[in-house]
Amino acid sequence: MTIGIEIAYLIASVLFIIGIKYLGKTKDARKGNVISAVGMVIAIAATLFTLEVLTLLEIGIAILVGSAIGLYYAQKVAMTKIPEMVALFNGFGGLASFAVALSDYYFKRDTDLASLDAINLTSIIVSVLIGAVTFTGSMVAYLKLDGKVSGQPITFKGQHLLNLLLLIAFFAASVLVFLDPSQVNYIVILIVISLLLGILTVIPIGGADMPVVISLLNSYSGMAACATGFILSNNVLIVAGSLVGASGIILTQIMCKAMNRSLVNVLLGGFGQTVASGGEDGPAVVVKEIGVEETAMLFDSASSVIVVPGYGMAVAQAQHVIRELMEQCEKRNINFRFAIHPVAGRMPGHMNVLLAEANISYDKLIEMDDINEDFSNTDLVFVVGANDVVNPAARTNPQSPIFGMPILNADKARTVIVSKRSMGKGYAGVENELFGYPNCLMLFGDAKQTITKVVSEMKDMA
């Protein structure tokens, strides 16, 4: 390999790092993404340069097909479906690394068996494991997010024992590969076990924990690229892979902290199941209803409003009418802000994207830690499609499965209005104490329709 190509890879690595640095500032983020893309183009161009011209046709077709699919999907996907897209792309990344590792194995086996030394075999085995687990795990996560498979945790007796046995079998088969690298059968066993492990580790995890899972799989897809870098002794793969690996791990930690769960607890799964069979129902929550006109009047007379959005808002496609509501309030000089819980939406930062799409300025979106003090001197809190993140049981009820989870102190405001389709439980399957509070009023009905009516009432008042 010539020095020129190595330098190109070095430049690409630096551009990825600079790109991520720029992603840390909202106004520069778009530039950062472009810088990172330039790095990618340089890495691809340098690699193409080393190739023989012979197979350029197949390579060209593969790149064209991939680009067309990627471009089409990226332009068509709805912002509510970004978690599904990220899950799918995590899986593609894993599968690509897996395929490169296998390709390298077959090539070396057929041409130069001696080059399959211990270091190389270890890299290939690790790459196959991480790549395959990322692939099948991400597919299960995708199907759960997309509702093609129930979001309920799937658990069965002896699940953890089975995973342990598979892991032991994986190590045993790895030893066999080391003893006789030419035996494809052992590699096939490794592949099958890895694919199974990916499925088995994600099925017990419930829908509410998906933000953790896709963050973790995001990290795995980076680690898979990293492992491939070790097979090919390629530094740019290792640098880019570690950046993604680190990013996924940080997001995983943030999500776990926001739900007051340990990663092990999430991965063992089954969350939300024991809750339903809790038994002690206690007195049914008595709620007070409010109508559209009264809601409009409350907004009209408030001087400060905080909206707590949840994924339900996006499902009802209510974010655009909420912007109109904001405009009405701002006309009246009402201080109007949004309180964003870290796990609002279905992946880290999802709510911010959904509100940005509705043309809501990002400085109106306040993080939990920065706004939680303000609830107690706020006139009106409007909860739209959120549930568990405002459930005071997290503070007060040690029996509750969400106890200890940091929540938005919506209940401390003078008045709370909750827009809700009907009396149902939250994603975690937990009853919400807030709805029974004396300062809480329920605005039943489809969020988009009811808020549209509230907005038109407010327009009439003006």
């Binding site: 991520i20 840390g24 909202t26 106004k27 983020a29 950062g32 993404n33 990172s36 893309a37 990618m40 691809i44 023989e52 197979t55 197949e58 097909v65 699919i69 990627g70 990226a74 332009q75 996907v77 990220v86 792309f89 593609f92 990344g93 690509a96 690394s97 395929a99 490169v100 296998l102 390709s103 390298d104 090539f107 057929d110 995001n218 980076g222 690229a225 990293c226 491939t228 870098g229 070790f230 390629n234 793969l237 290792i238 640098v239 880019a240 950046l243 690996g245 680190a246 990013s247 997001l251 943030i254 964003i340 880290p348 930062g349 911010n352 994207v353 799409e357 300025s361 990002y362 993080e367």
Partner: protein
């Protein structure tokens, strides 16, 4: 691969991971979704491995086909990841 070559790769891994932790812990929560889709694009760096696999390694048919499959998938990640991230970041506005 020699041990000393491996050590160099491990150096790169450790330092890049550390840098990644430092940089990404500074990304505000507002940008976490674009960060993840941007990571999807960057993890498409496997495209480099896929290009090598679908050509240089294209000795047996199987290894070549595996390389081409990897190439399609990695290209989807690279193109799709960067485009969707740009689409999102374009919407982040301050009035």
């Amino acid at each position: 691969m020699s041990i000393s070559a491996l050590i160099v790769l491990i150096y790169v891994l450790v330092l890049a991971s550390y840098l990644g932790f430092e940089l990404i812990s500074k990304v505000p929560p507002t940008l976490h979704t674009p960060l993840m889709s941007g990571s999807n694009a960057i993890s498409g760096i496997t495209i480099v491995g896929a290009l090598i696999a679908s050509n240089e390694m294209g000795y047996s048919t199987l290894s070549k086909w595996l390389g081409l499959v990897a190439l399609v998938l990695a290209t989807i990640n690279v193109v799709g990841g960067y485009v969707v991230t740009d689409r999102m970041l374009k919407m982040f506005k301050k009035k």
